[in-house]
Amino acid sequence: MAKSERRHEFGPSVPFTFLDEGRASTGDAYREGADVWVEARTLREAFGWELSPEGLCRDAVCIPVTARMRLTEGGRVSLTALAELLGRPLVVDAGERVAYLGAAARERAESLRSLVAPDFSLPDLDGHPHRLSEQRGKKVLLVAYASW
């Protein structure tokens, strides 16, 4: 049997926490070795991606999926293959039942190379949010410091 046709031996599902760049959600996960597989619903709810005839889609973006990517098996999606396809770092802590999908280096680098200052919203001490783009029209000195 060719490697790409290998059938996966999934155990019973376990509850897992999924962190999409820090945004947390919960769902069932299927362990297979070091990899974690999720069902389509979890893929959508946790990470915002959906499988469609056009491929792996999120908002207006669709990425064609080929069998070689070994992304899916029996309706489940491999988080390892998903991370590789998206170029994003994946950290799985099986013991703690949590998986963290981080930001892609290429995406961050392209954003910085554009020289458009990445927008963000952060709270002040009173919890009121402030967005960088609200300062458009003024020069901004962005200063990052810390108590450490």
């Binding site: 962190l19 760049e21 820090g22 947390a24 170029g87 994003r88 770092p89 994946l90 950290v91 802590d93 013991g95 703690e96 949590v98 963290y100 999908l101 981080g102 930001a103 892609a104 280096a105 961050r108 680098a109 954003s111 910085l112 190379r113 020289l115 458009v116 200052a117 990445p118 927008d119 963000f120 952060l122 709270p123 002040d124 001490l125 402030h130 960088l132 783009s133 300062q135 458009r136 029209g137 003024k138 020069k139 901004v140 000195l141 962005l142 200063v143 990052a144 410091y145 810390a146 108590s147 450490w148």
Partner: protein, 183 residues
């Protein structure tokens, strides 16, 4: 923006300074990730159109730590004021890009490890958090927002002997703790 695990860590400084500008709290290290910051203080100049005109640099507002850091606050402040007054020529885009340090896949993996560690810390799973802080530090030994920023969450003093040991080892290996722009 304070890169701190909680607002209370930075509250005393903000309340004492009484700033007239927005002074924000970044508990999820959003800025470090978006801008590729590896230490504090880091300053970025952004013009009226929202364009980066001077990328990540080191600047101090006072000479309080000049004897340790070697940085002259007046030089940075004078340059910032000149820019604010419109006395500085706008650099061309390629000159700005030439000064940028861009994130790598390895460094983003380090930030993911750090992010998971912070989440575990918030859940009270301190031993597990510590493991991921260690992995993050090993992946990005040049990132002090991780190495030093994780110390309060590891019950280590970021100004104490553990930090001084790390910093000394970094210097002995020929690396600089601060990475200012050349000019």
């Amino acid at each position: 923006m304070a890169l701190d695990r909680r607002a209370e860590d930075t509250r005393p400084w903000i309340e004492k300074a009484q700033p007239r500008h927005p002074s924000l709290i970044d508990t999820r290290y959003v800025l470090a990730d978006l801008y590729g910051m590896v230490n504090v203080p880091t300053v970025v100049w952004i013009d009226e159109r929202g364009t980066i005109v001077r990328p990540n640099d080191v600047a101090f507002a006072t000479d309080t730590y000049k004897a340790i850091t070697g940085f002259d606050a007046a030089k940075s402040l004078n340059a910032i004021r000149a820019w604010a007054r419109g006395e500085t020529r706008q650099p061309d885009a390629e000159a700005v890009r030439a000064r940028q340090s861009l994130p790598t896949p390895r460094h983003q993996l380090a930030r993911a490890q750090f992010g998971l560690g912070r989440w575990l810390y918030e859940q009270g799973r301190l031993a597990a958090a510590n493991e991921h802080f260690t992995l993050a530090s090993d992946l990005a030994p040049d990132d002090w927002t991780i190495k030093r920023g994780s110390m309060p969450m590891r019950n280590l003093d970021p100004f104490g002997p553990d930090f001084r040991t790390l910093r000394a080892a970094w210097a002995e290996a020929g690396h600089s703790y601060y990475l200012p722009l050349p000019d």
